[in-house]
């Protein structure tokens, strides 16, 4: 009990105003907390969706499902506008090993390797001569059983 002789009514008024202001402040804090939680949830959702999109991209690459529609369309446009080289004109640009690339072009008439003349062929040994040669000169037999 307060020792103040007067002001009891005023103290009741203070109590009532305090109750209302406190309720308002607490509700504000709760609403603010809920709003923050909602924003955090949306942030997490956005991160998760971004991760999922990246994961889909990665999976598509690994599974070999091919490029995206935009990539395929761009490749088709490039192929359509690429200058054609007539097949009669072989590409003589050497590759890394110095071999003309035209030899590896599919469908291109490659220059045929010169066939060895029969006169350049070494003389064939007769079976009798092979049998007469030393054993270490012969091809060893395939041995099995190992």
């Amino acid at each position: 009990m307060s020792s103040y002789g007067i002001g009891q009514g005023l103290e009741r008024g203070v109590g009532m105003v305090t109750d209302m202001v406190m309720r308002g402040l607490q509700m504000k804090q709760q609403d603010k907390y809920l709003e923050q939680q909602k924003e955090m949830h949306l942030d997490r959702l956005a991160v998760q969706q971004g991760w999922q999109m990246g994961q889909n991209e990665w999976n598509r690459g690994l599974a070999g499902l091919g490029p995206s529609y935009e990539d395929a369309e761009q490749a088709a446009q490039l192929a359509a506008t690429r200058p054609r080289i007539p097949s009669s004109q072989p590409i003589e640009t050497p590759g890394k090993l110095g071999i003309p690339l035209s030899r590896f072009e599919v469908g291109q008439p490659s220059t045929q390797a010169p066939r060895p003349s029969p006169s350049a062929r070494p003389p064939m040994e007769s079976p009798a001569a092979l049998l007469a040669s030393p054993p270490f000169m012969r091809r060893p037999r395939m041995r099995t059983g190992y």
């Binding site: 002789g5 005023l10 103290e11 209302m20």
Partner: protein
Amino acid sequence: MAGTTSIEHYLATHTQLPLEEVAEIYHAGAPWPILYNDLERMAHDDAQATGIPVETAAKALDQLCDIEATQIKVLIQEAEPAVACACFDVPFFDIPEVQALRAHPIIRDWLYYSERVALRVGESDVSIVFAIYLCILQYAWDHPEWARGV
């Protein structure tokens, strides 16, 4: 927190605000005007001015306090639903239904002092300073010896 007193702990407990924030606001506004001290002095002044006994002047002043408390009660009942539905980003004293309560002479004086303290603290919300002021008044009513020493 070092250096805090029981009044600051009381305020932090009743307002559910951080102790550091409460202590900063409390020290920024100290000494807080305690109306109950003024009532006793006013009763003595009225008795001296009119020649009536102090008890009679105090009783009249007490009845005036009861009338004002009834007025505040009516204003609170009118503002309560709007306060309950207000969004958290709307300041308490910006709610239209609170304007009548804000215009009450006693509330207006307390709010004016709270606004000055809020300005002194900086970015502090006026409604928070006001809530702390109300809690100080309640503490003063429960601890008159503390209030008279402020």
